[in-house]
């Protein structure tokens, strides 16, 4: 299979994630869309690593997973706190700061 197709897939995933962030309201879902984008990037790294035959890309993928995990920790902490205060996970409710 042409490895370029993986890149297209990666781009699609990234786009889905990027658009998902914009159109979804639930903070958790938004966050998951971001994770999708990160993983799309991971897929691209791995694909490039495969095309080139070096390991760097795969190493980065692992790093990314770790970082993503950290992000989850921090993100969930924040989302949970907000939920406790507002009893809502809709990102649209948090719009006191504007203009």
């Amino acid at each position: 299979m042409n490895s370029a197709n993986y890149l297209y897939l990666s781009a699609m995933l990234f786009t889905i994630g990027a658009v998902g962030v914009v159109i979804r309201r639930n903070a958790i879902v938004v966050f998951m869309c971001i994770e999708l984008m990160l993983n799309a990037a991971n897929l691209a790294f791995v694909t490039f690593a495969r095309i080139n035959g070096t390991l760097d890309g795969q190493v980065i993928a692992f790093f990314t997973m770790v970082v993503a995990a950290c992000e989850v920790v921090v993100g969930l902490a924040i989302i949970v706190t907000i939920f406790r205060s507002r009893r809502s996970t809709s990102v649209d409710d948090a719009s006191l700061l504007k203009r």
């Binding site: 719009s95 504007k98 203009r99």
Partner: protein, 631 residues
């Protein structure tokens, strides 16, 4: 030749004036005496210089005194320097002589005024400025005196400036003078640009190298200046209003001296006008128009001072006319100026004396038969009257007759026209002056019972008497044996003209006869017209001409419609423009920035998803841009 005394002529009265102003009320007791003494000593210096001058041969009579380098920038070099020659000494004697007499007169005339000291300070200031005007050796020095007398005139017209209309009159005079000053400024600029110098001698020396256009330009601008200062058409309108000032001021400034400065300026610039025929023609035309203009106004005025002012305007018209007639005219112009200085100042003082006795009433319709109550005033006034209408052997006869004669003998059709104008002017002059005499001194009394006409004190009639002697004798003295013409000849270069072929169209005898006939006609009409009862209130059902003559031939209406109203409208418009358009434009810029600020603020919705969208769109936008730029 140099002299060290000239500076005192200017400095003494200037110092005295400043001194009296700074001392203020402390000098109230003796200020008038001090000022009069100063003026007298200036006359003394003038007389001394005159005698010295007489002792020298005619070509080396001029003396100079360089004081200091005034303005020195590059080639623009102007010294503060004075020049006393035959022309200026004539003026110096007139100014200080008549000036001193009027100082004396004013001691009594102003004795009841709380601000008499200030009045004398102004008078001294005027003397200083006027002397500087005639003594300056360059156009720029002259300009200082020129504006100085304007200022003095402003201060004195507005001496009683608590009356708004007097203050307005003062302002009007100054502004009209300033319009003339524009002319003088421009003349100096053109002169500097053309000759690289502005001194009289320097310009005279280089005048042959200049283009006619430049000379005509200078000439016309000088004429404008003269028109402003000497109340010539079209800048004449201020003179009538200037009668708001105390009467001695009218006598000194607005009859004898300052208003004649225009004549001096043109005579002094003879080297310009002699080489600029177009400008010379304009001078003649302006003079002719003004002499008729003033005379016609004079026929309709009931205010004695305004009637005299109109007469002054007309008489200066004669002088200006004469200066436009080339080398021969200058001397006659100056001669008429001098005689006029005597008789007109005398008449003004007479008018002042009448007002003094009549509780400051100026309306001649409320006089009548005053000759009995104030005989001296009547006699001195009468002598001046005879002089001005040109009855031989009084002073005006000699000087005016010469002007009319010269006018008639000017070349071509021009000569006939201006000669006729001058002759007609003489007729009208005789008419309105006779009218003044009849209304004031003869006939039945028309004044209120409250008034107690009485003769003025000696301090007042003394100067009047002296001036009356001048009105009688000065003409003969100056003209006998062509004395004054040859006196001035070195200054106005009239030598060549004397030798030049002169077309004598009319013999002097003919002209004199015509003039005398005109005078007789004028006097006769006046006597016929005013012999009967004169109404106390001016009739309103008069002819159209009388009505506009009373309104000064609509000169103020013209100024108001053509200059003042548009000027005020322009001012209002510009004020609005500044507020709305210019500052408005600046504010609009501000408003646009603030508007866009508010607009962009709206994108900050507070919704995190819209921010994400912004990022996404930004990414797409950049992608698109980079695509366009690089591919």
């Amino acid at each position: 030749m140099t002299s060290n005394n000239l500076v005192y002529l200017v400095a003494l009265p200037l110092f005295s004036s400043g001194f009296l102003m700074i001392l203020g009320r402390r000098a109230d007791k003796w200020g008038h005496i001090f000022a009069t003494l100063i003026s007298a000593s200036a006359f003394g210096i003038g007389a001394f210089e005159f005698l010295q001058m007489l002792a020298r041969p005619s070509e080396s009579r001029a003396v100079t005194q360089k004081l200091f380098s005034w303005i020195s920038v590059g080639t623009f070099q102007v010294d503060a320097s004075l020049l006393l020659d035959q022309l200026s000494i004539s003026f110096v004697l007139l100014i200080t002589g008549v000036g001193t007499l009027i100082h004396i007169y004013s001691i009594a005339y102003m004795s009841h005024d709380l601000d008499r000291r200030r009045f004398f300070a102004f008078l001294n200031f005027f003397i200083a400025a006027m002397l500087l005007l005639v003594l300056g050796d360059s156009y720029l020095n002259l300009y200082v005196g020129w504006e100085g007398v304007g200022l003095a005139s402003y201060l004195l017209i507005g001496f009683w400036n608590q009356k708004p209309e007097y203050a307005t009159a003062a302002k009007k005079a100054f502004v009209a003078n300033r319009v003339g000053d524009v002319g003088l400024s421009l003349a100096i600029m053109i002169a500097f640009a053309t000759f690289g110098t502005v001194s009289f001698s320097g310009v005279e020396e280089k005048v042959s190298g200049a283009s006619t256009a430049a000379l005509t330009g200078i000439g016309l601008m000088l004429l404008l200046a003269a028109a402003g200062k000497s109340a010539q058409f079209p800048l004449q309108s201020w003179l009538g209003d200037a009668m708001a000032g105390p009467t001695p001021v009218s006598a000194l400034i607005h009859a004898a001296t300052m208003v004649t400065a225009g004549v001096y300026l043109i005579a002094r610039s003879n080297f310009i006008f002699d080489n600029a025929p177009t400008a010379q023609l304009c001078v003649v035309i302006i003079g002719a128009i003004t002499l008729m203009f003033g005379a016609l106004i004079g026929t309709a005025k009931d205010d004695i001072k305004k009637a005299l002012a109109a007469s002054t305007m007309s008489q200066i018209g004669y002088m200006i006319l004469a200066t436009g007639l080339g080398p021969v005219g200058y001397a006659f112009a100056i001669m008429h100026l001098l005689t006029h200085g005597f008789f007109k100042a005398g008449m003004f003082l007479g008018a002042g004396s009448v007002m003094h006795g009549m509780d400051d009433e100026v309306n001649m319709r409320k006089y009548g038969g005053l000759g009995k109550f104030m005989p001296i005033t009547a006699i001195t006034f009468g002598l001046g009257y005879l002089a001005i209408i040109g009855v031989p052997p009084f002073a005006g006869f000699y000087s005016k007759d010469k002007i009319i004669e010269t006018a008639f003998n000017a070349e071509g059709i021009k000569g006939l026209l201006i000669g006729s104008a001058a002759l007609l002017g003489a007729l009208v002059t005789a008419f309105y002056m006779t009218r003044v005499i009849i209304l004031t001194f003869t006939g039945a009394k028309r004044w209120d019972e409250k008034a107690h006409p009485h003769e003025s004190p000696f301090l007042m009639w003394g100067p009047m008497a002296i001036l009356a002697i001048g009105s009688v004798a000065s003409g003969f003295l100056l003209s006998s044996g062509n004395r004054f013409v040859s006196w001035l000849a070195p200054v106005v270069n009239s030598h060549e003209a004397d030798h030049a072929e002169h077309v004598e169209r009319f013999q002097p005898v003919v002209v004199t006869s015509m003039a005398l006939v005109a005078v007789v006609i004028g006097v006769a009409i006046a006597i016929v017209k005013y012999r009967s009862q004169v109404p106390r209130v001016a009739p309103t059902n008069v002819r159209f001409f009388t009505r506009i003559a009373r309104r000064d031939l609509l000169q103020d209406d013209f100024n108001e419609v053509v200059l003042m109203r548009p000027g005020q409208a322009l001012t209002k418009f510009l004020v609005a423009t500044d507020e709305k358009a210019i500052d408005g434009a600046v504010r609009t810029v501000g408003a646009v920035v603030i508007g866009s600020s508010k607009g962009i603020r709206k994108t900050q919705t507070g919704f995190v998803r819209s921010y994400a969208l912004l990022i996404l769109l930004g990414a797409f936008g950049l992608l698109a841009t980079i695509w366009v730029v690089t591919l």
